[in-house]
């Protein structure tokens, strides 16, 4: 995926006090301008790539629309209507204009406009990935920090095993076992799908994320139901995110804890907790945010198996089905959406990076 520069060089050193504030402001404006420019270029590149993929695929888009029994005249008419007789660069401009207006064409497998389909499936995936990342971060970061602070201790060993299992277990197997145990045997959680049948369609749709919508509607029953459905797949995704986040946190922390300024902090007589959290942890926030953003992004695009095991009507399932049906409009629309998410996450981490690291201002 695309990647804006996350490791920009630290700014120049001290300047005379009078010009200092002005210089800082100027630098910030310039960096904002650079950010917007890189954003525009990245999105342009993304569109170009998806456009090319759409044209190179050995699928005749006209045939997909008119069907196999159409006459030559009908075929030609459809081809002209789709603008496929124009030169490629004109086609690209038309495509870009359509995408900018939010028009991805019609999906041939669902019969709806792709944009409408995406509005339906994306919130489901977003909700799942967000909760998964939340679980992964809330458990993974403290686990990684403690594992590094007590390197070689029992917490470190447990964290190692947890992460190893997280890396190596196939997610569909864990998902099925989870369903069997917590839904089938214990009955603690809701089964596959996003809602129980009682609540299906009962909550007025606002954001498309059922947890949020039911809260907005003040419907506690629906919220509990949706929560009992999402918690198992979200924990599963959270576990994978945790494995990655905790290992990265640990290695970032080990690097910082061996730094000289940590010895300084200890010489001052600070408590170990303050040394670890106020000094070392504060210094890993920047790389950690990048790791979390990338992990979130990969959950947005890559939770196909989880969505299939849990019958979760999300983006991963939608794109996979579209791909198998050679439904190119849907595939390209989904790809553009995921690419845009990655760009947005990169920009978000870039902005956070600038606010958190004084050297980047």
């Amino acid at each position: 995926m695309t990647n804006t520069d996350l490791s920009a060089a630290p700014g120049p050193g001290a300047s005379p006090p009078s010009s200092r504030r002005g210089a800082r402001l100027g630098r910030r404006m310039r960096s904002l301008g650079g950010l917007l420019l890189s954003l525009a270029l990245t999105l342009l590149g993304l569109l170009l790539v998806t456009f090319i993929i759409g044209r190179v695929m050995p699928i005749d888009p006209v045939l997909k629309v008119v069907g196999e029994r159409a006459t030559q005249a009908q075929y030609e008419a459809a081809r002209l209507a789709m603008g496929l007789d124009k030169p490629l660069w004109q086609q690209f401009l038309v495509y870009m204009g359509e995408v900018l207006r939010g028009d991805f064409g019609r999906s041939i497998s669902t019969g709806h406009p792709v944009a409408q389909d995406l509005r339906r499936v994306f919130p489901a995936t977003f909700e799942l990935a967000a909760l998964g990342t939340l679980i992964g971060v809330c458990v993974g970061v403290p686990l990684g920090v403690v594992a590094a602070a007590r390197r070689g201790g029992w917490i470190d060993q447990i964290a190692r095993v947890v992460a190893l299992v997280g890396y190596s277990m196939p997610i569909f197997w864990l998902g099925l076992m989870g369903l069997l145990l917590f839904y089938g045997i214990l009955g603690w959680v809701g089964g596959p799908g996003r809602q129980g049948i009682v609540y299906d369609g009962m909550v007025p749709e606002m954001t498309g994320m059922i947890l949020v919508d039911s809260l907005l509607a003040g419907d506690w029953g629906a919220f509990r139901d949706a929560f009992s459905h999402i918690i198992l797949p979200a924990s599963l995704l959270g576990y994978f995110s945790l494995a990655y986040v905790s290992r990265m946190t640990r290695s970032f922390m080990l690097e910082q804890l061996s730094a000289e300024y940590i010895t300084t902090a200890r010489v001052k007589g600070l408590s170990e907790r303050r040394v670890v959290w106020a000094h070392a942890f504060r210094n890993i926030l920047v790389p950690l945010i990048t790791v979390i953003a990338l992990s979130f992004g990969s959950l947005l695009e890559g939770s196909v198996l989880t969505e299939i095991v849990f019958s979760w009507p999300g983006l991963g399932q939608y794109i996979t089905k579209a791909l198998l049906a050679a439904d190119m409009n849907a595939v390209l629309g989904g790809t553009v959406l995921i690419g845009t998410c990655f760009v947005a996450l990169n920009i978000l981490s870039d902005v956070l990076y600038r606010t958190l690291d004084p050297r980047a201002k």
């Binding site: 001290a14 300024y261 010895t263 902090a265 200890r266 001052k268 000094h279 504060r282 004084p358």
Partner: protein, 288 residues
Amino acid sequence: MTPLLSVRDLRVSFPTRSGSFQAVRGVSFDLGRERLGVVGESGSGKSMTGRAILGLVRPPGKVTAERLELDGESILNLPERRMRKLRGARISMVMQDPKFSLNPVMTIGRQIMESYRLHSGQGGQAARDKALDMLRAVQIRDPERVFDAYPHEISGGMGQRAMIAMMLAPDPEILIADEPTSALDVSVRNEVLRIMDKLVRDRGMGLIFISHDLNLVGQFCDRVLIMYAGRVVEELPAHDLHAARHPYTQGLLNSLPRLDQPVERLSTLQRQDSWRDADIATPLPGGL
């Protein structure tokens, strides 16, 4: 009179695959309200001696000693909680390079205030005043600006002065300066040394000045310990440095260029295995 710090037979060892490695092998000295230089090449155990006094040798490293006393009280292997009360408040340390020894994402002011607030129990405003006073004391001309600056925004010399301000803010009795000027330009070096010297003398503190620079230590300290391979091989007053008797010290001195006695080639130090375990050349002064 009890010395500020009394060290007898201090040993620091680290377990390795082939038995334990001793980085410090039986170091003994007393420190009064004076400036004691510790000289030796890298790996001679001089820095490790400083860290052992501060209780900063991390496991699996082990510190043993016949005696390690601060003002007559043993501080050998104190529980971490009690050691923390001494660190910063009574013994402090300035390290080599302010680029690495200051926290890059915390302003200088907050770093100075942090240790002062911890040990004095004072509130924010008092700590701020103290930090600005300390910055003035290390002769920083615009303390307000440096207070709000991040370490990357100030020069190395200024960073080291801020470091000295930070370490002296809680009024410790002993300052260990571990190669405090090695990372600085020669032009800034003397200024930083002068400031540190003045503050240490005004407060009647004990200073342990760790360095590999014989000339610097000779000018700047009252007494010098020469370390080799984890042991003190010679101890002598700084002004008698030229009269050193141990062949290692003589070798070190001979390998330095001298303006008043130019030579064609400087002699190279020939190390001898017997120095590792031989007794020190000058016995400790009688009263010890």
